[in-house]
C-alpha cells in the first residue's frame, strides 16, 4: 500500500501534473474550442466590383487607358508623381451606397490598403490618399466595392482537407495492401502447425515470429521518420511505414488464425488422396479466409486512424495540413480537418464492423 502510494507520488512529480494549468491555460485553447462549433466548411464569396488605374513614379507617363468596358471606372487626379504626393481618386459606375477599399499595388503585385471608401447614391466616390513609399515605378491603384454576397459554397479549406483526407484513406489502403501482400505468405511460415511438417520448420517458425515481434515493437511513427529520411517527405514514406508495421501485426494475427484451424478437414482431405496443394486449397484456405478478411479490414481501420498523425512527421496525409493549421493558429481550418477525420474514422469503423459481422 505504502509502496503503491510512493510510486504514484513519484509519478505525479516526474510527469509534472499541475492541474492548475488546465484553468490558467483555458483562454489559450478557447479559440480552438469555439472554432470547433464553426468549422470552415461553408462560405459566401463576396461579390466584388473592381476598377483600376495606373500611377507611375519617376516622371514617366503611363499610356492612356483604353476604352474600358461599361463597368465601373476609376480615375486619378494625376497619373504620375513621386512618393508622398497627394492624389485624389474618384470612381463612378459602382453600386450605390456601399463600402469598399482602395488598394495600392506595386510593380511586383504586392498590395497594400491605402484607404476605405463609400459610394454615394449614384455609385460615385472621391477619396484622397498619399502615394506610399514602395519599390518600383509602375504602380496601380484599384478600388473594390462589395456589391453583395454570393451564394453559400463549400470553402477552399473544405476542398483542401477533403483532398488530403482522400490521400489519407488511400495511404492507409496502400499501406495495408503492402502489409497483406507480405504477411500472407509469411504467416504460413509463422504457423507452428504447418511448419511442424517441413524440414527445419522449427527454425523457420522461430525466425518468422521473431521478425514479426521485432518489427512490431517499433512504432509506426518512428518508422515513418526513418522512411522520410530514406525516400523523402510525402505519402510514400507513410505507405512504407504503415506497410512494414502492418506486415508484423497482420502476420502475427494471420499465423494465429492458421494455428487455430480445425485439423479434422485436413485429415479428411488427406485421406481422400489429395495432394499438398489441394489440401491447402480445400481444407486450410476455407477455414482462414474469413478471419484473414476480418483482420485485414480491422487493420485498414487502424491504419486510417494512424495515417492521420503520420503527416505530423512528414509522412503525408491530412496530418500534414492539420499541423500547419495548428501552427498558424488557424483554428477554424484545424477544426474542419478534425471534423473530417472524426467523420471518416467513424464511417470506416462502422463499415468495417458491418463487413466483419457479415463474414465471421
Amino acid at each position: 500500500m505504502a509502496a503503491t502510494l510512493l510510486v504514484y507520488a513519484y509519478g505525479w512529480r516526474v510527469t509534472q501534473i499541475r492541474l492548475g494549468e488546465l484553468w490558467r491555460g483555458a483562454h489559450l485553447i478557447r479559440p480552438f474550442l469555439s472554432a470547433l462549433a464553426v468549422p470552415d466548411v461553408l462560405t459566401r464569396q463576396p461579390d466584388l466590383q473592381k476598377a483600376a488605374a495606373v500611377f507611375y513614379y519617376g516622371g514617366e507617363t503611363p499610356p492612356p487607358p483604353g476604352p474600358g468596358p461599361g463597368g465601373p471606372r476609376l480615375r486619378l487626379s494625376r497619373v504620375t508623381g513621386a512618393i508622398g504626393d497627394r492624389v485624389v481618386a474618384s470612381g463612378e459606375g459602382f453600386a450605390p451606397s456601399r463600402g469598399g477599399i482602395l488598394w495600392w499595388e506595386n510593380q511586383i503585385g504586392q498590395r497594400q490598403q491605402i484607404g476605405t471608401l463609400t459610394t454615394d447614391g449614384q455609385g460615385r466616390f472621391t477619396q484622397a490618399f498619399i502615394a506610399p513609399d514602395v519599390q518600383g515605378t509602375h504602380n496601380m491603384v484599384s478600388a473594390e466595392v462589395v456589391r453583395g454576397v454570393g451564394p453559400l459554397r463549400l470553402s477552399q479549406t473544405f476542398f483542401t482537407v477533403l483532398d488530403r483526407m482522400v490521400e489519407t484513406v488511400f495511404l492507409a489502403l496502400m499501406g495495408t495492401t503492402m502489409g497483406v501482400l507480405f504477411a500472407v505468405p509469411l504467416s504460413f511460415l509463422g504457423a507452428r502447425n504447418l511448419t511442424a511438417h517441413i524440414p527445419a520448420g522449427g527454425a523457420i517458425y522461430w525466425l518468422t515470429r521473431s521478425l514479426f515481434n521485432l518489427t512490431r515493437s517499433i512504432e509506426a511513427l518512428v518508422l515513418a521518420i526513418i522512411f522520410t529520411v530514406w525516400v523523402g517527405l510525402g505519402p510514400f514514406a507513410g505507405v512504407l511505414a504503415l506497410g512494414v508495421h502492418s506486415v508484423a501485426s497482420l502476420g502475427k494475427l494471420y499465423s494465429e488464425a492458421i494455428e487455430s484451424i480445425d485439423t479434422g478437414p485436413i485429415e479428411a482431405i488427406t485421406a481422400t488422396g489429395a495432394s499438398g496443394l489441394q489440401i491447402i486449397r480445400y481444407a486450410v484456405v476455407p477455414q482462414i479466409v474469413p478471419q484473414f478478411i476480418a483482420f485485414t479490414i480491422y487493420r485498414w481501420d487502424i491504419n486510417v486512424r494512424f495515417s492521420t498523425v503520420i503527416g505530423f512527421v512528414g509522412g503525408g496525409g491530412i496530418g500534414f495540413v492539420l499541423q500547419q493549421y495548428i501552427n498558424l493558429l488557424q483554428w477554424r481550418q484545424a477544426a474542419t480537418a478534425l471534423w473530417m477525420i472524426a467523420l471518416v474514422v467513424v464511417l470506416l469503423d462502422y463499415a468495417s464492423a458491418v463487413v466483419r459481422q457479415r463474414i465471421v
Partner: protein, 279 residues
C-alpha cells in the same frame, strides 16, 4: 465383372484378372505385426495382425484409448506405423511412395467421428473434395470440378437423403446430416474399402441407426468392405459381420458377433464393465 472393375481402375492400378473376382476369399486387407508407438512413448498398437475379406462389415470395439482410432489411421497412413506391414488389395501400403500412397488412399474412403467437413464450404464442395485424389492438382487453384462430377455428387447426396441441402453450408447441418455428407464424400471416391472411425459416437441413438444403415447399405448393395469402430457392443452386434476387439493396443478378440459372451465382454472392457444397450 472383372472387365468392369478394370475399367474403373485408375491408370497404374494392377489390371488383368483381378484377384478378388478369381478368389472371393482373397483378403482386401492384410495387417501383419502392426505396431505404433507415439513419440511420447505411448504404445497405441502392439503387434496387431488380422485380415479382412472383401465384403465384410468388420467392427472394431474396445475402450476409449484402446487403439481403435490409431489402427484405422494406420491403414491409410494418416498415422505412420512404427512397425509391421499393411497390404491393401495386394499393394504394400507401408512401403508406398507418396504418389502410390495417394493412389491407395483414393480407393479408401474415410468417415470420422466429428465428420471433419469444411464447415464454411457448401455441402456440394465437401462431397466434391472426396474426389480430389483423381483430379489434377492445378484445378484446385481455379476451384474447378467437372460438371459431370457435380452431378454425381448430387446423386450421391440423393442416396443419403439430403440432396435438397446441396448448396447449404455444411456447418449449419445437424450432426446426422453432416455425417451423411461425410458418407457421400467417401462414396464419391468409389472406394473398395471404407474406414469409419466412431461414425456415430457424436450422434443420438436414433440418428446413429440411420447413419449406420446407410453404411450398411454401401456394404451390402455396393459391396464396399467396411471397417468400422464402435463404442456400443449392441450396435456392433447389430451391424457387424465380424468383430475384432482391442485392449491396450492388443487384439483380444476376433470372431462372430454372437461369440461375445459375458466372459469375453469382461476381457475386452474390464471386470467393472456393464453392458449398455442402444436400440
Amino acid at each position: 465383372m472383372a472387365g468392369e472393375l478394370a475399367g474403373t481402375s485408375p491408370p497404374g492400378w494392377p489390371r488383368g484378372p483381378i484377384r478378388r473376382s478369381v478368389a472371393v476369399s482373397d483378403p482386401i486387407l492384410q495387417i501383419e505385426h502392426l505396431s505404433k508407438t507415439y513419440p511420447d512413448g505411448t504404445q497405441a498398437l502392439a503387434d496387431v495382425s488380422f485380415t479382412v475379406a472383401p465384403g465384410e462389415f468388420l467392427v472394431v470395439i474396445g475402450l476409449s484409448g484402446s487403439g481403435k482410432s490409431t489402427l484405422l489411421r494406420c491403414l491409410n497412413r494418416l498415422v505412420e506405423p512404427t512397425a509391421g506391414t499393411i497390404r491393401f488389395q495386394g499393394r504394400d501400403v507401408t512401403a508406398a511412395s507418396p504418389q502410390e500412397l495417394r493412389e491407395i488412399r483414393r480407393r479408401i474412403g474415410m468417415i470420422f467421428q466429428h465428420f471433419n467437413l469444411v464447415r464454411r464450404a457448401s455441402v456440394l464442395t465437401n462431397v466434391l473434395a472426396g474426389r480430389l485424389g483423381y483430379l489434377p492438382p492445378a484445378w484446385a487453384l481455379a476451384n474447378y470440378f467437372p460438371p459431370a462430377l457435380a452431378r454425381r455428387a448430387a446423386a450421391n447426396l440423393d442416396r443419403v437423403g439430403i440432396v435438397q441441402k446441396v448448396f447449404t453450408r455444411a456447418g449449419s447441418l445437424s450432426g446426422g446430416q453432416q455425417q451423411r455428407v461425410g458418407i457421400a464424400r467417401a462414396l464419391i471416391q468409389e472406394p473398395a474399402l471404407i474406414l469409419a472411425d466412431e461414425p456415430v459416437a457424436s450422434l443420438d441413438p436414433a440418428t446413429s441407426h440411420s447413419v449406420l444403415r446407410y453404411i450398411e447399405e454401401l456394404n451390402k448393395k455396393d459391396g464396399i468392405t467396411v471397417l468400422c469402430s464402435l463404442h456400443f457392443l449392441s450396435l456392433a452386434r447389430r451391424y457387424g459381420t465380424r468383430i475384432i476387439a482391442l485392449r491396450s493396443g492388443q487384439l483380444v478378440f476376433d470372431g462372430r458377433p454372437h461369440d461375445i459372451d459375458e466372459d469375453r465382454f469382461k476381457a475386452i472392457y474390464g471386470e467393472e464393465a456393464v453392458e449398455v444397450e442402444v436400440h
